[in-house]
Each structure stands twice: as structure tokens, then as C-alpha cells.
């Protein structure tokens, strides 16, 4: 049965034995990745607090990482995970820069709100 098959696939995955992943096994991972990405996107677009906006971008990063890992597993190679390590590294660097910029911006306007930087009158 379908659920039995899925349970078996999960068991095999738990044993860290590289089992061939079918598309139906891959799908949930991708769905979660998509959901995380959308949540991160919505959060970024909706919130005003710059730190929270940055948090949401990190969430989007992680979503992409999850998708990478899922596909890496699907293809039974290590490339996906390797690339995720790199992505994490870049995300860390970017986090450093973003937070430095947030600090600078905060110093100028004494506020963490993104709407403090709205100078156009359109």
C-alpha cells in the first residue's frame, strides 16, 4: 500500500542507507521547502521591523537549502549537501553584512522600522 511503502522508505532513510527515492517520497520535502519559502517571502513583504525582515530572508535561504538536500538525496549524490554547506556559509556572511547595515541604519534614524526610510512622496 501506499502508506506502507512510504513508511518503509522512511525506515530505510532512517537507517542512512541510501535508498532510491521515488518522486512520491521526494514530494513532501519539496512541499515543505515551498511552504517555508512562501512563508519567508510573505513575512519579508509584510513586516516592518528590519531584523524580522532579515529573519525571513534567512528562512528563505533555509528553504532553498532544504530543497537542495532533498534533490541531492534524490540523485543519491553528495552534491546537494555540499552545496548547502556553501549556501550556509554565504548566508552567514550575508547575515553579518546585513546586521552591520541594520546597525548603521538604526544609528541614522533611531528606529528599526523600514518605513523610517521612506523619503519619496509617491
Amino acid at each position: 500500500m501506499h502508506s506502507m511503502q512510504m513508511f518503509e522508505s522512511f525506515q530505510l532513510a532512517q537507517l542512512a542507507f541510501p535508498a532510491e527515492m521515488s518522486a512520491s517520497v521526494l514530494a513532501p520535502y519539496l512541499f515543505v521547502s515551498a511552504a517555508m519559502f512562501a512563508i519567508g517571502l510573505i513575512g519579508f513583504l509584510t513586516r516592518k521591523n528590519m531584523i524580522i525582515m532579515f529573519l525571513c530572508t534567512e528562512l528563505m535561504f533555509q528553504a532553498a537549502g532544504l530543497a537542495l538536500i532533498a534533490f541531492g538525496r534524490h540523485h543519491l549524490g553528495s552534491d546537494g549537501q555540499t552545496f548547502v554547506i556553501f549556501v550556509l556559509c554565504v548566508a552567514a556572511a550575508e547575515a553579518a553584512m546585513a546586521l552591520a547595515l541594520v546597525v548603521l541604519l538604526f544609528r541614522h534614524r533611531e528606529s528599526l522600522s523600514a518605513s523610517a526610510w521612506k523619503e519619496l512622496n509617491g
Binding site: K48, A114, W117, L120
Partner: protein, 765 residues
């Protein structure tokens, strides 16, 4: 009875110059038609180039006067330049007349429109067509122009400087345009001259451009002329459409036209297409506009706002005869139209009597002369409509001389009495010192206008027209109306003479007196009157008046020259041109008279009818009697009502002072009629109500449409970018998330497009 037969014999002998000779005229329609066609079929050659001097010397005068104005010349040089150049043109005209051999020719100046496409062509070059009609017209145009330029050199002398140069420049341009009109070889040259004279009329009427009434009069003249010009333009177009050419030489030798003429000569208009008939009807409107016929005459009396030389030249002698020239020149075209000539005749008659009644009630002597011009032009048009082009042309010639004379004499009065023209305020001018010549020449002119029998050329010319009215069947009523108008003419002409020139001496200065700083600024008008001295005319004015008076008297002889072959010298000139037409009715009447036979019906343009008679006598004889007696009667009536006491009023007058006369009592008891006549029968007011008022309302409507609709539309287009910006501007809000939304949204759309396409292409579920 014995008296009537005696009278008949007397009039017969004295009337011989007015009757056709026996030989040439057979008396039936076909012969006359072929005579006319024979004239039109004559070959047109090329002429000598010095003929162009007639046209271009006045244009040179225009250019030189413009230069004088540019260099601010303040002497009388413009006048002398113009006089010399115009005299040169007149000399060239005389030479042209003396050297004319009898065949028309064209003189080519330069190519203007010379278009050929396929087998069709439109040729309208700057070239001139000379035949006897042209020569006749140009003789009096250039002659009078020279004389009047001489007169104007003194008349306008108080205006030396820019105004003087402007006057003579427009003068020269006018003579150039008139030459183009008369001498042009195609209808486009005619139209060019037509518009040119209209323009110069506008410029010259509005010469005193600071006077609002003068400016309004100039505009009125131009606009009313323009209405007529529309008709002329349409006529030219239609001529080109129907006959394929607008050149005279080709038009008059056009076969279709000859066929039409043959049919029209016997009164058969059923086969002539309406398109050809409408040409004449349209051109006629143009002639009415230019020659001030009803209903387009309203500009001529107002045109008296211009200086008197302008009135004399343009509005008496030359420009207003352009309409007569038009109809005369295109007489073949008018003959083939069934209703054109009758309409011309009736309009002419209506104009004649209408203007005469108005003229009777005016007090401004220039206005009276203006209305008499309109009235006499009505005579000329009636003559054309009554199938006597000779009569019309002769009347044009004599009228040019005596009307110019009358205007110039009135101008001398105006010039000398500081602008006073009211005949209630002037009297006995002929007896004032220095005014004798003016008095005598004015008398000559008045006699010609009244048409006193035998001693004036006006009598002969008017008589030809009046007689023809009775000969041509169906126009008897026109004839009697014209006779009545002749009596009125004699009356109002001599009203002017008896009031202004005879009787006790009295002169009140006019409005221009205040402009002249002759006296030391007296505010009291009464003092002015007593200190006012009339300014007698100088040698230039007197010379011109004398010359014109002599010319008027000498033109009597024109009636006797070549009286046997044609109706006098003018007849001989007209007979060898496109205007020649031997009316079958006239020939039949003359034949019957000479042979003492009964008149029978004759085929002619108005039908197969019998020519008429006057009281059973031959029309010419009868008319001499009737019109002669009528003129004398008119003079006597004027003498009774307006003449001064004593011999000056022919012993029947009773006027003792300037302002009142016997007519005043009758005018009071005649009810509203004199007032209405004085107010020109309210024609101007009716036009204002019918045409000007609604047009003004329409213009207001259009103004508001323009402002709201069109400007609104344009403003809407200007507003669109703002709307567009209002839509787009929020995208540049400065909100970070807004930009992020745009990016994400764009990505979403792009992905949507890609995935949907991929799905569609791939066919996946």
C-alpha cells in the same frame, strides 16, 4: 395729326445717329447669329510687347511709391511719379488703339499656369488679350486714372508723407489690377484683377484708418465684394469643367459654345445643358457684387468714407464697371443661359429705381452721387440684359466721364469747405470767388447725368438703353420704370445743383475745420462760421475738372462717328469683340421703321415675338421724346422745389436761404416715406438682422465650442500624462516592501508564464 407727324419727322431726322444702318442688317435671327459667330471665329494672333507697358507701368508706380514710403519721402514726388507713369500707360493705350488692325491678339508676359496632363490641360498664363472692347475700356481707365491722379496730387496734399505715398501706391496697384482684369487673356487673370481691385478698394476706402467709420466701410466693401467673388469663382470653375478651358481665345472658338449660341439665338434653350446655363448665373453674382447691384450694393454708399479721388476713380468710373465688363466680355456665355440676361435686366432695373429713391432723400452730396452711381450702374446692367451691349458700353463710357467729374467737383467743395458736404449748409458756391470753374463743370456733369436732350452725351447713351427696353419684347415694364427713374435722376441731380451751387451765398464749414489750425483756437462755433474762408481749388483740380467737362461734352461726337454701320464709335468698338450682339429685334424694328412696313414676329433669344414700339412710333424716336421731356420735367421740378428765387431758379424757384426750401413742407406731410428713403429703406438694418446677427450668434457659439470642446480636448490630452503619472507614481513609493513586492510579483508572473507554457508544451497533468 399734323403735330404728331411733324414731331415724328423732327425726331426722325435728329435721331438718325441712333438708328441702325440699312445694309448690314438683314433682320432675321440666323444672320445675326452668324455675324456674332463670325466675330468669335477670328484668328487670334500675337501682339507687340510694348503693350505690357500699359499693365506694368502702374505696377512700377506701386513699387516706387512703396520705396518712397520706406525712405519717408515728404514731398509730392509720389504723385508726380504716379502721374507720369499713368500718362505713359495712357500713351501706350492710345498707341495700341491707333495701331489696332482689327484682329484680336494676345501678348504673353510670362508663363503662370501651364499644366498639361494627358489630353487635358489647364493653361492660365500671365498674358493679355487685346480686342476692341479691351481698348475701349483701357482708354477711359488709363485716361481717367491719369486725370484723377493729377487731381489727387492737390487734393491729398495736406497729407504729404507716409499717407501720400500709401495713397499713390494703392492707386498704382489699383490701375495694375484693373488692367489685369480688363486685358487678361484668361479668366484667372480676370479673377486676379478682380480680387486686386477689391483689395485696393479696401485699402483706399480705409485710407483714413484711424476713423472707425472708414475702417468699417472698407471691411463692408471687401466682404460684400467677396460674396460676389464666390459666384465668380464658381463660374470660372464651371467654365473649366464644361468647356475645358478658361482662356478667352479657346473659349470663344469652342464648338460647343457655338452650337449653344445658335440654339439660343432662336430662343431654343431646351438643348443647352443646365451646367452651361449655370455658368452665367454664377458669374452674374460676381458682377452684382463688384458693380453694386441689388442686393449687394450696400457697400458703395459707405465707400464714400474714402478720399474723393478714390470715389471718383474706383467707385464711379473703373472698378464698378468691372461687372459690366465681365458680362460684356462673356456675352456669348450669357446668351446661352436662358434666365441670366432677364435676371440681369430686372436686377438692374430694381437697383436703378431703388437707388434713385434713396438718393432723393439724402443730404450728403457725395452720398447722393454714390446712389446715382448705383442707379446708373443699374441702367448699364439693364442695357446688357436688354440685349444692347453697345448701349451699356456707351453708357459706361459717358458715365465714367461725367460721374468722375461730379465726384471731383463735390470733392473740390469738400476740400474747400473743410469737409462740409451737407446741402442744407451750403448755397451759392458757384458765385464765390475762385469757384466759377467748379460751378460750370458741375453744371456740365449734372446735365449729363440728368440726360438733357441733345446737348449731353448722357442723353444719347441712356437713350440707347431706354429704346432697347421697348424694342426687345417683354420688357416694356422695365422701360417705363427706367423712364421714371430717369425723371427721378434729373430731379435729384439738379436738387444738388440748385441747392449747393446757386442761390444766396452761404457756407458753413465742416468737421475738418477744427483740424486746421488756421485760427487761434476759438471755441465758439459761431465765430468760426464767420471767420471761415473757403479754400478755392488750385490749378490741378481746376484743370482736371475742365478736361473732364470737355471730355463729357466731346463724347457727344462719339455717337455720330460711324453712325451708319454701328451705333456710333462705341458700337464699332463693341462690334468687333466678343461682346458684339446684333439683336434681331432691333434689326427687325429698324427694318420695319425704315421700310415703313408692319413689324412681325422675329425669332430671338427671348422667343419668337414682335419687337415693341413706343406709342406706336419707332422706339428710338419715341424714346427721344419721352426721355427728353422727362429730363426737362425733372429739372423743372427740382427748380420749383429747390431752386433759388430769381433767374437762378429758372424763375420758378422760391428758396431764399440755404437750409430750407419748398420741399420741406411736402416732406413733412408725406408721412414716413421720406424718412424711410433717407434711411435707405432700412436695407442695411435688414441685412444686419438676417445675416449679420445670426452669424454673430453662430460665431459666439463656435467660440464657446472652441473654448470648451476643442480646448477641452487639447487640455485632456495634456491631462493624460498626469493621469498616467497618478497611476504609476505609487510604484515609486519609497517603501521597501513595495519594491520587494514588485520583484516577487514579477518573479511570480514570470514563473507562472514559464510553468504554464512548459505544462502546456509538455502536456503534463
Amino acid at each position: 395729326m399734323m403735330t404728331t407727324s411733324l414731331l415724328t419727322n423732327l425726331t426722325h431726322t435728329l435721331a438718325s445717329p441712333l438708328m441702325l444702318a440699312g445694309e448690314g442688317s438683314g433682320g432675321h435671327g440666323g444672320h445675326a447669329a452668324s455675324d456674332n459667330l463670325a466675330m468669335l471665329n477670328e484668328h487670334v494672333g500675337t501682339g507687340p510687347k510694348w503693350v505690357l507697358l500699359i499693365v506694368f507701368l502702374p505696377l512700377l508706380g506701386f513699387v516706387l511709391n512703396a520705396i518712397y514710403a520706406a525712405i519717408s519721402n515728404k514731398s509730392k514726388l509720389p504723385a508726380w511719379t504716379t502721374i507720369v507713369l499713368l500718362a505713359g500707360a495712357f500713351a501706350a493705350t492710345l498707341t495700341m488703339f491707333l495701331q489696332y488692325e482689327g484682329t484680336p491678339y494676345t501678348v504673353h508676359a510670362f508663363d503662370w499656369f501651364n499644366l498639361h496632363y494627358g489630353d487635358k490641360s489647364f493653361v492660365a498664363n500671365f498674358s493679355f488679350y487685346i480686342d476692341r472692347l479691351t481698348i475701349l475700356w483701357m482708354l477711359f481707365v488709363t485716361g481717367l486714372a491719369t486725370m484723377i491722379a493729377l487731381y489727387a496730387s492737390e487734393y491729398m496734399s495736406h497729407d504729404v508723407g507716409l499717407g501720400y505715398c500709401r495713397f499713390f501706391a494703392a492707386f498704382g496697384l489699383f490701375v495694375f489690377s484693373m488692367s489685369c482684369l480688363v486685358m487678361g487673356d484668361n479668366m484667372l487673370m480676370l479673377y486676379l484683377g478682380w480680387e486686386g481691385v477689391g483689395l485696393c478698394s479696401y485699402l483706399l476706402i480705409g485710407y483714413f484708418y484711424k476713423k472707425p467709420s472708414a475702417v468699417a466701410a472698407a471691411k463692408k466693401a471687401f466682404i460684400v465684394n467677396r460674396i460676389g467673388d464666390l459666384g465668380l469663382a464658381l463660374g470660372v470653375y464651371l467654365t473649366f469643367v464644361h468647356f475645358g478651358t478658361i482662356q478667352y481665345a479657346e473659349l470663344f472658338s469652342n464648338e460647343t459654345l457655338h452650337q449653344y449660341m445658335n440654339a439660343a439665338a432662336v430662343g431654343d434653350f431646351s438643348h443647352i445643358p443646365a451646367q452651361a446655363q449655370w455658368i452665367a448665373l454664377l458669374m452674374m453674382v460676381g458682377a452684382f457684387g463688384k458693380s453694386a447691384q441689388f442686393p449687394l450694393y450696400v457697400w458703395l454708399p459707405d465707400a464714400m468714407e474714402g478720399p474723393t479721388p478714390v470715389s471718383a476713380l474706383i467707385h464711379a468710373a473703373t472698378m464698378v464697371t468691372a461687372g459690366v465688363y465681365l458680362i460684356a466680355r462673356f456675352y456669348p456665355v450669357f446668351l446661352v443661359s436662358e434666365n441670366a440676361l432677364p435676371i440681369v435686366a430686372w436686377i438692374g432695373t430694381i437697383t436703378a429705381i431703388l437707388a434713385a429713391t434713396i438718393g432723393m432723400a439724402q443730404f450728403d452730396i457725395k452720398r447722393i452721387m454714390a446712389y446715382s452711381t448705383v442707379s446708373q450702374l443699374g441702367y448699364m446692367f439693364a442695357g446688357l440684359g436688354l440685349l444692347t451691349t453697345t448701349g451699356a458700353a456707351f453708357h459706361v463710357l459717358t458715365h465714367a466721364f461725367f460721374k468722375a467729374l461730379l465726384f471731383l467737383a463735390c470733392g473740390a467743395v469738400m476740400h474747400g469747405f473743410a469737409g462740409q458736404l451737407d446741402l442744407r449748409k451750403l448755397s451759392g458756391v458757384a458765385w464765390m470767388k475762385g469757384w466759377g470753374i467748379v460751378g460750370i463743370t458741375m453744371l456740365v456733369g449734372c446735365m449729363n447725368l440728368a440726360g438733357l436732350p441733345y446737348i449731353t452725351s448722357g442723353f444719347y447713351s441712356k437713350d440707347m438703353i431706354l429704346a432697347e427696353a421697348f424694342i426687345t419684347p417683354g420688357y416694356q415694364l422695365i422701360g417705363w420704370i427706367l423712364v421714371f427713374t430717369a425723371i427721378l435722376t434729373a430731379y435729384y441731380t439738379f436738387r444738388v445743383y440748385f441747392r449747393v451751387f446757386l442761390g444766396p451765398q452761404h457756407a458753413e464749414p465742416g468737421d475738418e475745420h477744427d483740424d486746421h489750425d488756421d485760427h487761434a483756437g476759438d471755441a465758439d462755433h459761431g465765430d468760426h462760421a464767420s471767420h471761415f474762408h473757403p479754400h478755392a481749388p488750385g490749378w490741378a483740380i481746376n484743370t482736371v475738372l475742365i478736361v473732364l467737362a470737355c471730355a463729357s461734352m466731346l463724347s457727344i461726337s462719339l455717337a455720330y462717328i460711324q453712325k451708319d454701320e454701328h451705333h456710333g464709335w462705341v458700337g464699332s468698338m463693341v462690334a468687333e469683340s466678343s461682346a458684339s450682339f446684333h439683336s434681331p429685334y432691333a434689326e427687325a424694328a429698324h427694318h420695319a421703321h425704315v421700310e415703313h412696313t408692319e413689324m412681325h414676329a422675329v425669332a430671338g433669344p427671348v422667343g419668337n415675338l414682335t419687337p415693341g414700339t413706343v406709342f406706336g412710333m419707332d422706339a428710338h424716336q419715341g424714346m427721344i421724346l419721352v426721355s427728353g421731356l422727362g429730363a426737362i420735367f425733372g429739372v423743372l421740378v427740382a427748380a420749383y422745389f429747390h431752386g433759388p428765387k430769381g433767374w437762378q431758379g429758372l424763375f420758378i424757384g422760391g428758396r431764399t436761404e440755404a437750409g430750407t426750401c419748398r420741399m420741406d413742407a411736402i416732406a413733412k406731410r408725406a408721412g414716413p416715406l421720406p424718412r424711410w428713403a433717407e434711411n435707405k429703406w432700412y436695407v442695411d438694418e435688414i441685412y444686419q438682422m438676417i445675416f449679420v446677427g445670426p452669424l454673430r450668434l453662430l460665431s459666439h457659439i463656435f467660440h464657446w465650442i472652441d473654448k470648451l470642446l476643442l480646448d477641452g480636448l487639447v487640455n485632456l490630452f495634456g491631462f493624460l500624462p498626469r493621469v498616467f503619472a497618478w497611476i504609476i507614481r505609487p510604484s515609486q513609493s519609497g517603501v521597501l516592501q513595495g519594491y520587494a513586492v514588485s520583484m516577487a510579483g514579477g518573479l511570480a508572473i514570470l514563473l507562472f508564464v514559464v510553468i504554464v507554457i512548459v505544462m502546456r508544451a509538455g502536456g503534463a497533468a
